[in-house]
Structures are given as C-alpha cells and as structure tokens.
Symmetry: C2
Subunit: 303 residues, 2 copies
DNA sequence: AATCTAATTTTGTCCAATACAAATAATTAA
DNA sequence: TTAATTATTTGTATTGGACAAAATTAGATT
C-alpha cells in the first residue's frame, strides 16, 4: 500500500505533515488552494512533498491561530515575522526564583541536577504544593518558552519524561486507600497531554480518593463501559490548551449524555479556562484547588 | 464551521467514527463504495451518520484485519460471526501461574490487588527480573488478549498506566549515576508504545548507565540535535510490533546517516524480531539480555 | 458611546469519483 | 520444496466543488 516512506530526502508527505503539525490533510490542501501556502513539491505521482521549513512555518501558524489570529491574515507572512508575533504575545515576566533555578538546570542539560532539584522540591514542599506550585509553574513557563521557540523540542520531551517520573513515583508511594469517591481519570481521543492528567491524579491520591487512571485518549464509549466495571462515582476529563474549547465542551456533553445521572462528570484543564456555556450536569474545575473543594462537597453530599 | 456536533441522536459523523475506530475517513468511504459496508444514514446535507452497531462492527473488523484477515473476506459478515472468528484465534495456552495471578486481578477490576501484586513481584524479584520476566510476560499476554478481543480497552489502558507507574518509580529510585555510556532513549514519530521504552530505561538504569529519556515520537531531526547537547554515546530506538519492520529499519538507517560515526545506534523491540538485512552500523537488540551484553561490550571497548 | 441584530466574509470539514503503488495472494518456473 | 512472476486486493492520495458554523463587519436602536 502507499506507505510512502514518510520522508524522502528531507521531504515529508502529507500524512507525515498531518501527524507532525496537527493540521488535517483536507485543511492543508484547502490552504494551498486558497492562500497559495503551503505549496509543496510533488513526487513522480503528483503526491505532495513538504519541506522542513514549510512544516516549521505550519507549526507557527497553528500556534498563532490557536491564540486567536485568523489564517487569512497570517498565512502569507514569513516565518521570521510569525516568530515575532509569537514572542510579542509571550508573557515577559520572569518566573519565580524557585522555578527559574530548576529551569536553568534543564536548559543547561544538567539532567542529574534537574532531577535532583525536582526531587528536593518534592521532599521539601510535599506532594500537594509541589504539584500546584512547582509543576504548574514549570508547565506554564515551558509552554510559553516552547511557543516562543526558546526551548528545543528534545528539552521539552525530557522535561515531560522527568515530571512524569516524579509524579508517578509520588502516586505509587501514596498508600492506596479504597476510599470514596472512586474517580475515573482520562482524556478523550486527540488529547495527548499526560502531565495535566497526572497532576490531577496526584492530587486525588493525596486526598485519599481511589483513582482509576486510564491514561490519555480513551474513546468515549470505553469510558462509558469502564464506569460500571469499576463502580465509578466521578469521571474527570482533562483538556490541555492545545485542544479547542468547543471540542472539549462537546466531548463533555456527549459523555454526560451517555452516563447514568448519578455519575458526576468534571472537566479540567486549560482548554476550559474561559468557558461560558457549561453543558448541563457538568462541573468545570478551573484549578486543582477547585477540584479539592469539589471532592469535599461530593463527600459531604454522600456522607 | 462544520463542527457537526459529533453526535446527533445516537448517530455519529464520520470524524467521530475516525476518532473512535481508528479507520480514516478515506478508508470508510472507500469501504462503503467497494463492499457496501458501512452504509451510514445521511443528514440533511448528505453527511454520513453512522450508528453505534456499525461502529462496533468496525472495531471488530479492525481487530481481525490487524490479525491478518483480509477486509474483502470479512466486511460483509455479521457481528456475531466476527466475534466468533475473534475468539477462535485466541491463543489457548495459559500463562505461567505467576503472571496468571496478576492478570486475574486486573480482569476482576481489583485495582488495589493488582497494584499490590505488581509491587510485591518487584520487591521479591528485583528490578531486572521483574522487567524481563513479569512485565515482558504480561505485555505479551495482554497484547494477545487484546487482539483476541478478550480484554476491554479500558483494562488495557489501566494496565499500561500501572506498569508505567511501577517502572517509573523504579527508575526514579535508582541512584542517578553519572556513569558512561550516556544513552539517549526514544521512539520515532508514529511509534506510541511507551512500555517497551520504559523497560529498556529501567534495565539501563539498573546497569548504571546514564539515560536521556525523551519519551515517544521524537522527530529524527530532534534526536540528531539532542546528541551533541547531551554528549550522547549511544542512541537506542524502540519499535513495538505494531510498527512494520520496513519502517523500523528505514528509520534506523536514516538516523545512522545523520549521526557522527562514533555515536552508536541500537534498535530494539518486537518489530525487529526477525529482521535479516541490518542497516550498516546499526546493532539490533533482540532481548533485554542482549542489551546488557552490548552495554558490557561498549564499556570494554571504551575502557 | 454602547448594545443588539442582521448581513457578509472567512474558514474547516465533507463529498464524489478517480488513480495508483504497496501489500498480499495466486501462479508458474526452477 | 523454494524462488520468481503475475494478478488481485487494499490503503492512501488526488481534484474541484459544496456548505454550514464561526467570526467579522455594518447597520439600527437604545
């Protein structure tokens, strides 16, 4: 079949571009027709072959569009200008010293130092503060730095791996209480960000709730099937700011309709930061603190 | 935009079906034309609306096709018969008692019991044997059970999460030696399986190598950039058996060409199990034991 | 000015029909 | 048997067109 080697001498086919930029094939073709960008090379059989610079510009475009820019206005500017636009909207304020020190080690590629300072922060502050302050702060700063192209992709990968290691270590060493409520934790297909999910899990574990963590990208129908199997009281879905708010709300609503009335549905994460129309019967959590209150309330109601 | 509500009275649009079944829109349309299935309802604007039974049958088809059946031969059989086909090809031999006991807890949805028995196995056997015997065995059995449709998707997700927790916990608690070699660990875009990668990392950590773990799906160009930044001696790529052997070998070769001569490239994982033509300058590891030998050899050569 | 409403433009997704190469199966030759 | 050809199946890509939801602009009313 046309498993077209994905890459031919530095050129990427349309499937590879869809995968790496998150822009659908249809959209790539329609942009080409409408705006004249990206205008890829062609292989012997008229197949599109995109260059690396084109991919990089596509990534910048996606970031800007996610941030409210309109495609028609920016597609034909050059990469340098797009980068300028991005850094213009990056927050300039410096991170607090505690976080800056950790970031500095990451950017110097001092892995052991980075690891140790994370561990130390966890020991010193306890799980709850570590998650809500250190990890949340690092996340935000790294996200912005990535937007601004200030940080290499492999550094971001490395960061993500280590924070996962830390959080999962914390979760494992938490005593597994069989206490109520039983919370199912996952994200919907398309949402690949794991750290937000792990942060939620860590906080829930610290609060003594029992967690059914399914990782990322569980199809809605499987969530529905898992609820009776594990006797779940609350389903928490996490949406990073990479996902659109509309998609997040639609997913929450669809799940709400599928689940029994007495199973709660909570949504959390950056995509829902400024949501207005909340689907009926769904609770939006705008912070981890809010989640702790919601947990408290659930326990009072079900005492 | 056509963000078509994803669902309308129990009917799913083509984007939702692609998301939940993993079959592309193009493929759904071409099956409809060629085989007459799935033949969805239509909305007022000729848009396809699939029913839940159609989605379920599509999933069965995907399982069978993954297992070597050909679409043309099975698309038009009914769901009951497909289910029969699936259970027919399930491996009948039972897993060893040690592993069967753990699996039993997972299938009973006894999360705490499952977690504890994993922890106990780790304590009792030590990291190395835990990884090479317990986790490898569980992986294989769960993979087969998944193919055979014997296990729910959410159970597999849950399994993956817990094994990740265990392995990452083990990695974190390993004393971080700054010893040589420095090994960069990741997979190429398209390869999402994390557990194999974590197994490798756990073994390397236990052997006292320093690891630069980048998680899954790092673009080749970023791997290349990470090598000088972290002073990497060896790059290990992991390929699960979900990926084709040809793609794995092509990726290894491409990376080999990009890296300096004295940086080693090792490949591991199910996709390479019976590879013959090995790209020049690449070492294939067919087991975790082989990797330990390779590590040993590297250390002798660079003593 | 500020707020609401209606017209207009922009934009993402979907459709039909077709083409083709890689993967698989069937056939033939050694 | 094994190896090499040929035929069939199958997944991915193509063009060009259509349309509704979202976003913007223009217009009317407080």
């Amino acid at each position: 079949m046309n498993t077209n080697l994905e890459k031919q001498g530095g050129l990427y086919n349309i499937a590879a571009v869809e995968r790496d930029t998150g822009l659908s094939k249809d959209l790539l073709r329609v942009w080409e027709r409408r705006y004249g960008f990206p205008k890829p090379e062609r292989d012997q059989n008229e197949g599109r072959l995109y260059t690396l610079p084109q991919m990089e510009k596509l990534r910048l475009l996606r970031l800007l569009i996610n941030n409210g820019h309109r495609p028609g206005k920016i597609v034909n500017r050059d990469s340098a200008e797009l980068s300028r636009l991005i850094s213009a909207q990056a927050t300039e304020r410096a991170p607090p010293a505690e976080i800056a020190a950790i970031l500095d080690l990451l950017l110097r590629h001092d892995i052991d130092g980075f690891r140790n300072s994370l561990l130390q922060a966890l020991m010193k502050q306890g799980l709850l503060r570590f998650v809500t302050e250190i990890v949340a702060g690092l996340n935000q700063w790294i996200g912005e730095a990535w937007l601004a192209g200030k940080i290499a992709i492999f550094d971001e990968h490395l960061y993500s791996e280590h924070v996962q290691n830390m959080l999962r270590n914390a979760i494992v060493t938490q005593p597994g209480s069989g206490k109520k409520p039983c919370v199912l934790l996952t994200s919907l297909p398309g949402e690949k960000h794991r750290i937000g999910l792990l942060m939620v899990e860590a906080v829930l574990a610290a609060e003594g709730a029992s967690c059914v963590a399914l990782g990322t990208e569980t199809p809605i129908i499987d969530i529905k099937n898992a609820v009776p199997a594990y006797n779940v009281d609350v389903v928490v879905l996490s949406f990073s700011s990479a996902m659109t708010q509309a998609a997040a709300l639609a997913g929450l609503e669809e799940l709400r309709d599928l689940l029994p009335e007495d199973t709660k549905v909570w949504g959390s994460g950056g995509a829902l930061r400024r949501a207005r129309k909340i689907p009926h019967g769904v609770l939006l959590l705008h912070s981890l603190e809010e989640m702790r209150y919601a947990l408290e309330r659930w326990r009072v109601e079900h005492a």
